[in-house]
C-alpha cells in the first residue's frame, strides 16, 4: 500500500484509456487493456501467476471490443468496472489504480493463491 498516494479526484473515460487526475494535480493515463489485465478477481488473478497464461489473458483482453466501462465507487477505497464483455468482477483498490498509473506491478510480484472456496 502506498502511504504517500494522493487522492484521486478525476476519472475521465476516453476511447481507449482513462485519464486520472490526482489531488496534487498530477495526471496519468492507463489503457483499458492494462486495467482489465490487472483485474484483481479470483478468476483473473491466478492467470497472471504464470507468464504463458498471463500472455494468453492479455491476448484475450486485447481481442475484446474497445469500450468505455461503467464505473462505480466501492465504499471509499476502491472502484468497480462494468464491461459489456469479459470480466467485471474485480474490485480495484485506489492503491492498485495508483500502481497501474505509475507503471508498477499492482500484485508486487506476489503470485495469487486461491481462497478455499
Amino acid at each position: 500500500m502506498s502511504e504517500d498516494m494522493p487522492r484521486l479526484t478525476r476519472f475521465e473515460r476516453r476511447d481507449v484509456d482513462v485519464a486520472l487526475t490526482y489531488e496534487n494535480g498530477e495526471e496519468y493515463n492507463v489503457t483499458y487493456d492494462d486495467l482489465r489485465h490487472a483485474c484483481p478477481c479470483a478468476k483473473c488473478s491466478p492467470l497472471r501467476n504464470e507468464d504463458e497464461s498471463s500472455k494468453t489473458l492479455r491476448r484475450q483482453i486485447e481481442a475484446l471490443p474497445k469500450e468505455k466501462p461503467q464505473v462505480r465507487t466501492v465504499g471509499n477505497y476502491a472502484l468497480g468496472f462494468e464491461w459489456s464483455t469479459g470480466c467485471s468482477s474485480g474490485i480495484y483498490r485506489f492503491e492498485r489504480i495508483w500502481d497501474l498509473a505509475n507503471r508498477r506491478d499492482p500484485d508486487n510480484g506476489r503470485p495469487y493463491v486461491h481462497g478455499a472456496w
Binding site: L8, T9, R10, F11, E12, R13, P40, A42, V71, T73, V74, G75, N76, Y77, A78, L79, S89, I91, R93, R96, V113, G115, A116, W117
Partner: protein, 335 residues
C-alpha cells in the same frame, strides 16, 4: 360480473359498479400495504444517514457482540444509532443491550424501537416472542415479510447509523435487506482467526459481490487473550501457551507483566482481508467480560468504557468510519 379485481366504473353501462369479492379486496389491501411499506422504506432510507450490515460466514464468531459493540462505540461519539436484529431464529441483541423481556410499543400501525444503553434504538424478533425458549420456525416467505415489516414499519426517526445484525451464513436475509433498504453503505465481515471461520468469511466476501454491497472491512474477533500479572521485578515469566508453545514476558520494575495468548491463531482476519483486497478494520481481544456482560445485560463497553475492549472497538469504528463515503466529502469526479 367481471374477473377484474378492481371495481368497474362503466360510463354508460347503466349498471351498479361491480364490487370486488372479499378475497379480491384482501388482495388489494395487501398490495396497498406493500406499496405503502415500499414508500416507507424509501423514506426511512433517507432519514438514516449510514446503514451497515454485519455478517459472518460462520456462527459463534461474536457477530452480535461486534454489532452491539459497533453501535455503542458510535453512540459514545454522540451519534444517533439503531440496531436492527435480523437474526429471527436466534435474536440475542436485546439481552446484550439490557432490554431483556421488553415489549415493543406500537402506535398507529408504526413500531417504535426500544432504547438500550446510550440511547441506542433496538428492533429485534426477541421483542415479539412470548417465551424466549420458543423457537421461531418460519419458511422463507414469512421471514421475508417479517424483515420487510422490521424495515418499513419501524419509526426509527433520524439516525446517523443503523447497524444490521444478521444470522450467520449467506442465506436470504441479507439478500432481502439489500433489496429492500436503499443506499446501504456496506458490510462488515466478522471472523475469528481459525481456518474454518476464515474459510466461511471468504464466502461472505464473495457473497458481497453478488449483493452489489461493498465490503467495508473485516473484523477479527477473539483475537488474543491478554493475561496481566505480577512476579519478581525485572524477571522473566514463562507461561505454557496453546500448541505446546512457551510464552515469555519480562516484568517491569514494579513486577507487572502482560502476555497475550493467541487462543485460536493470529492474523487470519488480516491476511484474508489482504487476500481479497478489502480493508482490515482491526482485531478485538478475547474478553470474558463480554460473556458476563451479555448475560447480565450490561455491555462491556458500558461497564468499562475505558477498558481494552472499548479501546479496541473505538479503533475499529474509526477504521469503519474512514471507509464510509461521506456525502459531504469531495467526491471523485467520473466522466
Amino acid at each position: 360480473m367481471s374477473d377484474s379485481p378492481v371495481t368497474k366504473h362503466g360510463a354508460n353501462s347503466g349498471e351498479a359498479p361491480a364490487m370486488a369479492s372479499p378475497q379480491e379486496q384482501k388482495q388489494m389491501e395487501q398490495a396497498y400495504a406493500q406499496m405503502k411499506r415500499k414508500m416507507s422504506m424509501a423514506e426511512i432510507g433517507k432519514r438514516i444517514k449510514h446503514k451497515v450490515m454485519v455478517l459472518s460466514g460462520k456462527g459463534g464468531v461474536g457477530k452480535s457482540t461486534v454489532s452491539t459493540g459497533l453501535a455503542l462505540a458510535l453512540a459514545q461519539q454522540g451519534l444517533k444509532v439503531g440496531i436492527l436484529d435480523i437474526d429471527i431464529t436466534g435474536p440475542n441483541v436485546p439481552k446484550m443491550m439490557g432490554l431483556d423481556g421488553r415489549r415493543l410499543h406500537v402506535e398507529s400501525g408504526r413500531i417504535h424501537p426500544a432504547q438500550g444503553h446510550l440511547g441506542v434504538k433496538v428492533i429485534s424478533m426477541a421483542f415479539l416472542l412470548d417465551n424466549e425458549d420458543t423457537p421461531v420456525v418460519w419458511r422463507g416467505p414469512i421471514k421475508l415479510g417479517a424483515i420487510q415489516q422490521f424495515i418499513g414499519d419501524v419509526e426509527w426517526g433520524d439516525l446517523d447509523y443503523l447497524i444490521i445484525d444478521f444470522p450467520p451464513g449467506t442465506s436470504d436475509e441479507p439478500l432481502t435487506v439489500a433489496q429492500s433498504l436503499p443506499d446501504i453503505d456496506g458490510m462488515v465481515i466478522v471472523t475469528t482467526p481459525q481456518d474454518v471461520a476464515l474459510l466461511d468469511s471468504r464466502k461472505s466476501i464473495t457473497f458481497s459481490e453478488s449483493l452489489k454491497v461493498p465490503v467495508l472491512g473485516v473484523v477479527e474477533n477473539m483475537s488474543g487473550y491478554t493475561i496481566n500479572g505480577k512476579a519478581a521485578p525485572n524477571s522473566e515469566v514463562q507461561i505454557a501457551g496453546p500448541a505446546g508453545k512457551t510464552l515469555k514476558a519480562t516484568t517491569n520494575e514494579d513486577g507487572d507483566f502482560s502476555i497475550t495468548i493467541d487462543i485460536f491463531k493470529e492474523g487470519g482476519g488480516k491476511s484474508t482481508a489482504e487476500e481479497f483486497g478489502v480493508p482490515f478494520l482491526g482485531a478485538l481481544p478475547f474478553d470474558p467480560g463480554f460473556v458476563r456482560g451479555g448475560d447480565d445485560g450490561v455491555h462491556r463497553i458500558v461497564s468499562e468504557p475505558e477498558g481494552p475492549s472499548a479501546i479496541a472497538f473505538s479503533a475499529v469504528v474509526e477504521a469503519l468510519q474512514a471507509q464510509i463515503v461521506d456525502a459531504e466529502q469531495p467526491s471523485l469526479e467520473i466522466i
